[in-house]
Amino acid sequence: MANKPITGEQRVFMTGNEVIAYAAVMAEADIMYGYPITPQNEIMHYWTRLAPKYGKKFLQTEDELSAGFTTIGGVLAGRKAFTATAGPGNTLMQEPMSMAEMMRIPTLLIVQQRGGPSTATVIYSQQEVTMTTYGGNGEGFRIVYSTSSHQDLYDYVIKGFNTAWKYRFPTFILGDGYQAKMREACVMYDPAERGIELVKPTPYMGAPGTPGVDRKPSHMRNTYNTEEELYEVVMNLAKAYEAIIPEVVEFEELNAFEADTVIIAHGVVSRAAKGAVKELLAEGEKKVGYFRPITLRPLAVNELREIAQRAKKLIIAESSYGQLLKQIKEAIYGTDVEIHTILKPGVGITQEEIVAKYHEVK
């Protein structure tokens, strides 16, 4: 059985879903559980093709509830398990993810956002931001990476496994239909060769020894009898979560801490935003900057506040009706920088639109 599909550095030209399947193999994921939904299907298609070659497993479940809960099972058994979904499937995933959130079970869920609400379109959107960051009946103790390119998909799937198992909070790779289906180039590599150490999973259930004899039994629960018990559990989660924020937060920027007008976007839209800012800078506009939160949860609150305190205007562009906008407003509460928006639920945003908006509001 071959060991790794990638050695050295390899430039490839493929769909994002294919990139993810490779990244999962290279991250030493053991098993994928999944239920089909466009636009994430090809992750499963490629995984099932790769799986037998590298000693990996796959289970197609009866629905997303099952995909989420079997993934939790796989993790409990001490394996690196993951799953992928989109849209209405992500809605259903909130049930298992709320259990993972409560019990600090590391899970990796890849979301390829599609239009919403409801079944909507199978194509593209950024309308699953609120749900992925704060979904379910919980408090959003999760880590969400928003990717913008195939390179990101490769890098952050590998990183996402490490994050999940290191910090034990449910971790999400938030992609979208464009990234899922488009082809572009990216460089694949063996993480070990780049000095990236892969966090090893440990079993939560079925560790060696007889429980109650050689070791304590592993008794895991998510249900409590009194509100005081629960309060303590949730406050401890909050404390643990807040402690890791500085280590986890990621962002990208260009001239953002010097600019008068900062364009903020995440995911694939950030490419148009970055392109627009580069174009404007090249045209001689000096006071324009670009900021892209990579982790949508936790958000780079400190940097956003610094920018908001300095800048005169923000332009927030997203393919939703203001899901990132809401979070940014909350993050920079107390400042009063002028905010302009390009909100286009379910459709792409181009560089031209952003440039035009800049000229309109500047």
Binding site: T70, M205, N222, T223
Partner: protein, 247 residues
């Protein structure tokens, strides 16, 4: 002798357990505990408990135990088994968890012949939430959501779970219905179900007819009577599917 005669695999720290006085769950879990002892599998067993009164068993055994969501124990246990087939995995749930909210999982795990064991406690109602109708509620039976008695014209007949599972599962599966009123037999069924998993044959399923005196509002005599005489009229006790024995 200050140490009661309880199965070795029981966790004495959590006793008396959290079930109501006279609850059948305690008897079912006694049978299971005895089987775990007899098979000597305490170190390899993973126990999953559903939401429903089953959850009260989250620290019942000295066995690694995961308390899951309502209806979701089948997929959690399936996920564990798929990831580590060395483990012996048991899903424990109520009739609501198994036949209502988790029925897609039960049906599909049976169809895929998952190598897991499901023990389902049929107490003809939703015990934990205070006694609503379950898929297994008997015709005419009063519950909190059938205050005038279950009307079969409106809500159909009680679900026959093992019969349904037997209709879906194929060769290799083990399916039986036992009762807390016959511990020896029940223990035998559970043992075969777990051995069937250990042999790698396939899905194993045991429904347990059980009592819920709290919601039935029955005294001990009435409880036994309902289990032994009323329930068994609808729910036939016995083995429905034994690998190698045809059907």
């Amino acid at each position: 002798m200050n140490y009661p005669q309880i199965p070795k695999s029981w966790n004495i720290e959590s006793k008396p357990h959290k079930f109501c006085p006279g609850c059948g769950h305690g008897i079912a879990l006694k049978a299971l505990g005895m089987v775990i002892d007899e098979l000597g599998i305490q170190d390899k067993t993973v126990f999953g408990v559903d939401i429903g009164c089953s959850l009260l068993a989250w620290d019942f055994f000295n066995v690694d135990t995961i308390q899951t969501h309502h209806g979701r124990t089948t997929p959690v246990i399936t996920g564990i088994k798929r990831a580590n087939p060395e483990l012996i995995t048991i899903a424990y749930m109520g009739d609501g968890g198994g036949y209502a909210i988790g029925s897609q999982h039960l049906v599909n795990a049976a169809a895929r012949n998952e190598k897991i064991t499901v023990i389902l406690v049929n107490n003809t109602n939703y015990g934990m939430t205070g006694g609503q109708m379950a898929p297994t509620t008997l015709p005419g039976q009063k519950t909190e959501t059938t205050p005038y008695g279950r009307d079969v014209d409106e809500t159909g007949y009680p679900t026959l779970g093992p019969e349904m599972v037997a209709a879906i599962a194929r060769e290799g599966a083990y399916v039986a219905r036992g009762t807390v009123a016959n511990l020896r037999q029940l223990k035998g069924f559970i043992k075969k179900a777990i051995e069937n998993q250990m042999a790698g044959n396939g899905f194993s399923f045991v429904e347990v007819l059980s009592g819920c005196p709290t919601n039935w509002r029955t005294n001990a005599k009435e409880t036994w009577d309902f289990i032994e005489n009323t329930m068994t009229q609808y729910f036939k006790v016995g083995e429905l599917k034994v690998p190698g024995k045809g059907e």
